[in-house]
Amino acid sequence: MSTRAATISPSAVSASAPVSSLSGAATKALTLGVIGLVATAAGLAVSSGKAVAFSYLTGIVFWIGIALGALFLVMIHHVFDAGWSTLLRRQFENWLACLPWLALLFVPLIASAFFAPGMIWKWTNPSYDLAQVGGHGTVAQDVLWVKKSGLLSTTSLVIASIVGFAGWSLLANRFRAHSFAQDTDGNISHTHASRFWTAVGLPFTALSMTLCIILWVKALDYHWYSTMYGVWFFAGCVRGALSVGMIITVWLWNRGDYKGILNNNHMHSHGMLMFAFTVFWAYITFSQYFLIYMANIPEETFWYSLREINNNGHFNTWGYVGFFLLFGHFFAPFLTLIHYPVKLSKIWMPRIAAFIAFVFLVDVTYNVMPSLKKITGDAYPFTSINLLWIATSVVGVGGVCVWAYLNSFSKTKLIPIRDPRIGESLTHHE
């Protein structure tokens, strides 16, 4: 690493993004977002509060996953002192602008634990009657909750969510502030400060993300045990973020911003990461299924049974979703991304990326929605009006994320022009 920060002169690259057309796009994104959120809220008049809340949880966890994936990618860049990804890092930093807004949008879900305890997370109300979901007795009488009650409580939920969002927003703020400040002063100390925050942030984010996803999603069915859950979510997060990053990359290329900046090797390396995390996701997800299948313990197998067969033994709609995940989230990306020319293609890659992001949403849906049970204990089918509330939630929260991104994008340089490794990044493998 050079001791000087600026290795190329700012004038060598025209790195300021044209602002004019973007403020309109940002406003449109925000408008769309607000419409989505209002439509989700209007869903309360049509469906039960529980169904809408589960759908909204699906939508927001999808976008939180993408934001956390972006946070991880920025930190992974710093922890390895990576060179090639320097120019791509800036767009992930811009994306991180959405984290405080995601925290704000998550508040209604946490609030529901107080004004409607037990609606989303049954254990927020120990006197919740399990007969409503095909069980018997109350949560407080359930030995599996009693043994887990140290973690599964409203207090833990609130603390974990606050600590998580506060920590992630702080990290996002630090990485953004240091990176943007370096554009003007070219000071190497910003790189060192980012590395410090990475050293703190990586273990923090790994632990807080695991804890939050266990409380938010896994504990919707609090009987369940899985040691792979945090890693499963991590894999999904990074895949989502890499997909969004690829879509942004090709968008900027088509706009002309990346002319002379982006070369084939960036596409190749980015594509290889997407491929690697496809395999990683498959490895984790298969391991989770396989361990539960082999051990065959009722407290674990019920989670998959719920997503495959009803109590009467009939195959249910979630079974098809499971197979779609197997082929859509693994085989399809694996068999396309494995080809070198595909990884360089600016036609193929954004489409594959959009598909992966979509299947990540299906994966989150598969994890959240079947916990919404009928009185018989069977899952509500996949094909229901809830899909509409998931769609409005995704548009709502996504609109806010895109708005935050575009706002940040229009205020910052296109690439970190005075990062010590920017020269290396611009000539990646050339």
């Binding site: 298969f286 299924y289 396989f290 299948y293 082999m294 065959n296 070198y340 050339e430």
Partner: protein, 177 residues
């Protein structure tokens, strides 16, 4: 005369010189020629017009063979040759055969990739005509050589020499066959 020599060997003194010379030789349409450099040079394969390797095809065949072997091995032992119920599981399911199939996919892919590489690059070669040059060791140390073989259909001694001189060769020698 072209029949009696192996080819021409031209010396260059820097990586950038051989890089530009390689582009000229490539554009002149030569196929049977090579660059000898002391270290890998980024982008030289592109400058030489080398196409992407065929090794991945070997890898694919190896991978498919490994996957099939793994699946059929578990089916053969567990469901065909000696059916035995273990842990209340079916005689055969792709689920529990998957880890074995996965491992064998990786193992066979690795073998096929390495074998494919050796088949395609003809290594190890204990003899090569350029070894007759007493200068060749410098090509592994501090100089760069372009070697154009006489068997190339475009090869013409006078023209090839002119091309190399024009490309900035410091010294051109004929390699005996």
């Amino acid at each position: 005369m072209a029949d009696s020599i192996y080819g021409l060997m031209a010396r260059f003194d820097s990586a950038s010189e051989i890089f530009h010379a390689a582009k000229k030789v490539r554009d002149a349409g030569f196929k049977n020629w090579d660059c000898i450099t002391p270290f890998p040079i980024h982008g030289l394969d592109g400058a030489m017009g080398v196409r992407r390797s065929h090794v991945p095809k070997f890898s694919l065949v190896g991978g498919l063979a490994g996957f099939t072997t793994g699946m059929s091995m578990i089916w053969f032992t567990g469901a065909f040759d000696y059916p035995l119920i273990v842990g209340g599981k079916p005689y055969f399911s792709p689920l529990f055969a998957f880890p074995i199939a996965y491992e064998l996919t990786i193992l066979f892919t690795a073998f096929a990739t390495i074998a494919g590489m050796f088949i395609l690059n003809w290594l190890p070669q204990h003899y090569h005509p350029v070894l007759k040059s007493d200068q060749i060791t410098r090509g592994l140390d501090d100089t760069f050589y372009v070697v154009i073989e006489a068997r190339d259909p475009k090869f013409d001694l006078i023209r090839a020499k002119a091309l190399l001189t024009q490309s900035g060769a410091k010294e051109i020698s004929e390699l005996e066959a």
